[in-house]
Symmetry: C2
Subunit: 354 residues, 2 copies
Amino acid sequence: MTINPPSIEGAVCPVPLSHNDQIVMGHGSGGRMTQDLIRKVFQPYFSNPALDANNDFAIVNVNNAKRIAISTDAHIVSPIFFPGGDIGRLAICGTVNDVAMSGADPVAITASFIIEEGFPTADLARIANSMAIAAKEANVFIAAGDTKVVEKGKADGIFISTTGIGFIPEGVNIGGKNAVAGDAVIISGSMGDHGMAVLAARGDLGLEMQINSDVAPLNSMIHQLVHEIKEIHVLRDPTRGGLATTLNEIANQSSVNITVDETSIPVKSSVASACELLGFDPLYVANEGKLIVIVPEKLAPRTIEILHRFDYGKEAALIGTVNREPKSRVLLRTQIGSNRILDVMAGEMLPRIC
Amino acid sequence: MTINPPSIEGAVCPVPLSHNDQIVMGHGSGGRMTQDLIRKVFQPYFSNPALDANNDFAIVNVNNAKRIAISTDAHIVSPIFFPGGDIGRLAICGTVNDVAMSGADPVAITASFIIEEGFPTADLARIANSMAIAAKEANVFIAAGDTKVVEKGKADGIFISTTGIGFIPEGVNIGGKNAVAGDAVIISGSMGDHGMAVLAARGDLGLEMQINSDVAPLNSMIHQLVHEIKEIHVLRDPTRGGLATTLNEIANQSSVNITVDETSIPVKSSVASACELLGFDPLYVANEGKLIVIVPEKLAPRTIEILHRFDYGKEAALIGTVNREPKSRVLLRTQIGSNRILDVMAGEMLPRIC
């Protein structure tokens, strides 16, 4: 199986880069070679007044907001390019989404790169391009960055840590501890796409089907939700550990039971087949462009209607309810009608998926 | 030469950790083992309401500030423990200082960890402890974090990326482009301590002397400066590339000449000896607890007087002036009275120093 380039449109592609160029230790020195790298590879894609000021900090205007949401993630996905995205798109979307889960509008992102000596400069430019496209789609700017280089064999190609900040609208109070009995549990689309896409891209599992990652920024969809529905209790993206682990986190934080209906959880047939073949449960597989929304039951139809307006929410579905007992437990009503406990993932099912 | 433990006082030391414990891939899964790691190793040191809320984001109150300063850094220092500090103290101080260079008061830090499988859990706890102590000294809280684990051989022990935010007081306008002819150039202390401390800690250079890193949070000293001196033009910490590279950055951004006097630049005798032995120039060696201050010449005595009040500014000295020509150039007036160009560092002199 071949690894396809990320299916991202609209490359900015600036400086012509020789494909023989490689990152060397000097690119992480903080001296002239670092300045060259920034000027040739990063600035053409990331240029904005905050970054171009070339200070050790960037300034972001608060615009009268009262509360900042902040979130950070390290990205170590392998392979770095996979169908539907790459480590760059993942680094932007992962952090944009985590900030947006507070109900905030993400504004600025910082990116720090740890690069292995010998990494192809062309791949770095491709990743920067993909970050720029994702940032543009999410309407955030890359405010500050840092590049470090380690010796060959001391890292695995490239790692990217991103941190995002956003402003929380007044009156919004969304968090994992706010689920209450009587709430509905909604997801914005199919489960398991990202994890299985990355796994398939590794090419060592004999999977012939192509699965596209769902990696996407969800903030404009969330903005609309927060604007139209005042009583959102919880927003969370089911990333590492998948839907099952994320629902358990919420059940724990809110001391409630969450019961979901297996037949109502959308799973793409390609993902279902791949999971069956490999013995994975799609409910434990990571997503990078999906959203759990918990709202009072009476607001569920309206919530789903709003999600359906967006490309990233077209398959949104009501999948379950929040109940009083058994506290801090997630139950799955299976296809044959029995209930079973859906526990937290214990160890590591799919390493380096994000 | 033995590597000494960091000379940091006041360990919080909570959960007894077996020295046989190691990080395994499951600790980065996002599932139960990640939760265990957070609860046992990070939370005892980092606990605060924002982090303990266990959401994917943290909330920071703006308190009527108008502007946020934000900065990020990846830390890949080797060895991770060195005299005077470790990667944890470095990760907090490096980012606190970058935020403070805007004149802001740093408030919150995020930390993302990339850990190699097999890394000792006891070392991770020691690093977390050191981060907690540095954060306490700097009066910032660790608002959000992330942990990823890569396979043995795919990283080098531990890498830590930190991002900091702070609030810029109204009326403050400090930045690398603000130096003008007639300004004085002041540094807060001796040059080259951090780089030579890390190099000596590697133990493979036959250096017998112990050199302590200067790694320290400078924000309370900067707070006082900003409070008492309204006309600070530039603040910058001479980290990677050292004083020479940092002054060149400022000369470039401000289109000015900076001329410094070699005899007035403090260099500790141990650092000077080590540099001479190894053929390094201390003006190109990284510092992690020093500050360049550029102010109108008439304010220089007052600036130095303020710096002298602080432990981290006791050796502050006037080292040079800002002039109109030759633009974007840094000149060094040598001990014998001649002027030579002090250029940007070209390649990499001391890799993995921060």
